[in-house]
Amino acid sequence: MIKILGSFKIVPDLDLLAEEDWIADEKNRVDVSYVKTMWNCFDESALEMMLKLSDNSESFGIELQLDAVTVGGERCESYLKTLHALGFDKAVRIECQEELQFWPEMTAGLITEYVSRIGGQNVIMMGRQSADGDNGKTPLLAAEQLGWPCITQVIGIEPVDEEYLKITNMVDGGVCTQVVRVPFVLSVGDAPCSYLRVPTLKDRMQRGKRPIDVYTMAELGVNSRFRDIEQRAVLRCLEPVNRDREGIVIEGDTVQEKAAVLYRDYLKGRLMKVERNFQP
């Protein structure tokens, strides 16, 4: 049976952070603790893709198991409950209060140790990068650690049988569709389905109340001493994106007046230039 593990990260919704709050604190970090969290968008695409695959597999009579894992604190549990409500079988949290930003090999290690020691899944699926760390390495490192192939820029998965999946991914200059035997890691980038469906309250009542499986790092045999975030990255500079208007607003009381300004100041010179260059 194909068992797919969706690995996801919960990130701060930086759209909610006001520009004046983009300031480094005494630890040289931007404080995002006041900002509501959200699914990392690429992971969200991957999870929805898994659910669509499950819908399709059902009609083919192919059995499939969907599990989900995240690394983080209790703040992530409501997201895992949502996945339970959506029909995910196991919802797993690897307890970690530390900041793993700029440490993708640690994240990948925790996921692969869980798969090898406990979960036994034969497909891992996740977004290609996170909104905050933005390393783009976790799926590749997970594949390397497990010795599995990694297919990147995945945009579609379809059921084939109990051992194979049909994977569509973007490649240089085109789209590639191949039938691949498990196990493998799938990395999802810009996918056509980017929003996760929403469970009904009945789904939440019926399925979302199941307990979350929580594992400590020690239970996964990971005893690596944490490197302080400052050893991995130091914030040096923060600059807001230039939000100046790209266009020019032409002022005038009437449309005629505005059109006259448009012609006089912006079009006339260009038209004359075109005329000069046009030698029949």
Binding site: D21, K36, Y195, L196, V198, P199, L201
Partner: protein, 488 residues
């Protein structure tokens, strides 16, 4: 004989010039509805009669000319400014309507700091005006969630209210004077005075008329000192909604005037906060002169400190969250994308009730919606505007649209939820509309809402709009189905 679409357009072009009479099909379709039919709007499905034209007026005189033309020819007019309506008020319910857009009347006419009042045309965006005033140390005190979109004429026409209402009041408490044009071409100006007792307060004929009596062209509202440096935020989790309503009541009854007094149930809170879990959330902001802000915050804290089951949260969380609450075009575009991808849609309905029934209204409506409407993904709400005798309830609900077309959605889901909420509110003697306007959907419950006072509303309509050309179907419904009023 009724004019054809072509004749209507020709008549309008003669009045305003062709460049201000828009007949582009896409514009006309988009102007046939508002966000009450959000699912249809998202899918670009248009079930309402498409207007003959959208006209952009630039002066009171032009409004008058268009109104007289429409009145003489019995053509339905839908007045609009910022287009942020969400209760069907902007739907063109009659064939060949004219949408009269006042957004071009966007001049701030006078900032009178000595008399603490500002006069502007109907199309002035509230955000622009308030930002400009704040730079000078003043504010209108009006801050609805639609602030980035809404304009002054529409805000007055719909009897809007802002997030700081508990201190500053609703728009009706802010409006000093007005200018409006009636269908027969009469231009009425109500002068700016502190108060008068010369008969009924006729501002209230205009405020909240929802474009069904007149077109508002000019507005004067009060000014207040803007002193954000004195703001004090307070936030709490609270284990019980009934207890939460009692806290709001005690704060009001003891005489405190926080600018914000909000109570979120756990479901609604989950949309805003990660930390609230299964708890309800209470939020306050005290503002004004430093000593008053401090005294208000201290008084609220004293009331809350006596209660069990209440835990304080870091006020900075509340302050940061509140700064990002408003909705602009970006949020609307993002929401559209999300609805199309997930078929999950979120809508609100706001009502009010006295302290002795607001919990029952909240509790019964939530329970019944969950029992009677399929595919619900969230049902909850918050109270965000409190008064000495009661408060509002802002129901927030999400559902998955399953097994129906965009055309069928409104009757399968939205109208059913509206019906349940209206039934529960009427049963307990509350008001079915707190601040979005009756629009065209809840207009079907106007008789139950008004009771014997419907006579006064009907008389106003007949007196000021005898030809029934003003925003037909708003306030008083057309095509009313007596047996199933929620089906339209």
């Amino acid at each position: 004989m009724a004019l054809s679409r072509e004749q209507i357009v020709e008549g309008l072009e003669n009045l305003l010039g062709a460049d201000r009479v828009i007949t582009d099909e896409k514009v006309l379709k988009e102007s046939s509805l508002d966000r009450y039919r959000k699912f249809e709007q998202t899918h670009e499905v248009y079930t309402q009669p498409i207007p003959a034209a959208v006209v952009y007026v630039n002066s009171t005189e032009e409004v008058r000319e268009v109104m007289v033309f429409a009145n003489e020819n019995k053509i339905n007019i839908v007045p609009r400014t910022g287009q942020s309506a969400i209760e069907g008020g902007l739907e063109t319910a009659a064939l060949n309507s004219i949408v009269v857009d006042g957004s071009g009347m966007n001049k701030i006419l006078k900032v009178d700091k000595y008399n603490m009042q500002v006069t502007c045309q109907c199309g002035v965006p509230l955000q622009d005006m308030d930002d400009m005033l704040r730079e000078q140390g003043y504010t209108t005190g009006h801050s609805p969630q639609s602030k980035p979109l809404a304009q002054m004429g529409g805000l007055v026409a719909t009897r809007s209210i802002g997030q700081f209402s508990t201190l500053y009041g609703g728009i009706e408490d802010m409006v000093v004077g007005l200018e409006a044009v009636f269908p027969n071409g009469e231009i009425c100006r109500i002068k700016n005075v502190p108060r008068r007792a010369a008969g009924p307060d006729i501002r209230h004929i205009i405020t909240g008329n929802e474009g069904a009596l007149c077109f508002i062209t000019e507005v004067t509202v009060k000014l207040f000192k803007y002193q954000p440096e004195n703001n004090v935020f307070l936030g709490y989790t609270i284990d019980d909604m009934k207890k939460g309503f009692n806290v709001l009541r005690d704060v009001m009854a003891e005489g405190y005037k926080p600018s914000i007094a909000r109570l979120y149930d756990a479901a609604d809170a989950s949309l805003h906060f990660d930390w609230s879990g299964d708890s309800n959330v209470l939020i306050f902001m005290a503002e004004g002169p430093a000593a008053i802000a401090k005294a208000t915050a201290d008084g609220i804290e004293a009331i809350i400190s006596k209660l069990e089951g209440v835990n304080a949260v870091d006020p900075k969380i509340i302050e940061k969250w509140f700064a990002g609450l408003n909705w602009g075009p970006e949020e609307i575009a993002e929401e559209k994308e999300e609805i199309l991808a997930t078929n999950n849609i979120g809508i609100t309905t706001e009502v009010s009730g006295c302290w002795d029934c607001i919990y029952e209204i909240y509790d019964n409506a939530c329970r019944r919606v969950l029992e009677e409407v399929p595919d619900m993904t969230l049902m909850g709400g918050h109270s965000s505007h409190s008064y000495i005798n009661g408060t509002n309830m802002y129901f927030v609900y999400y559902y998955n649209v399953v097994d129906c077309t965009p055309e069928e959605e409104i009757n399968k889901y939205h109208n059913q939820i509206n019906r349940i909420i209206c039934e529960e509110v009427i049963k307990y003697g509350g008001s079915i509309v707190h601040h979005h306007g009756l629009g065209k959907a809840r207009a079907h419950y106007v008789w139950e809402e008004y009771g014997s006072s419907f006579y006064m509303l009907e008389t106003l309509k007949k007196a000021f709009d005898p030809n029934n050309i003003m925003n037909m179907g708003t306030l008083i419904p057309i095509k009313h189905n007596d047996k199933n009023p929620w089906e339209f």
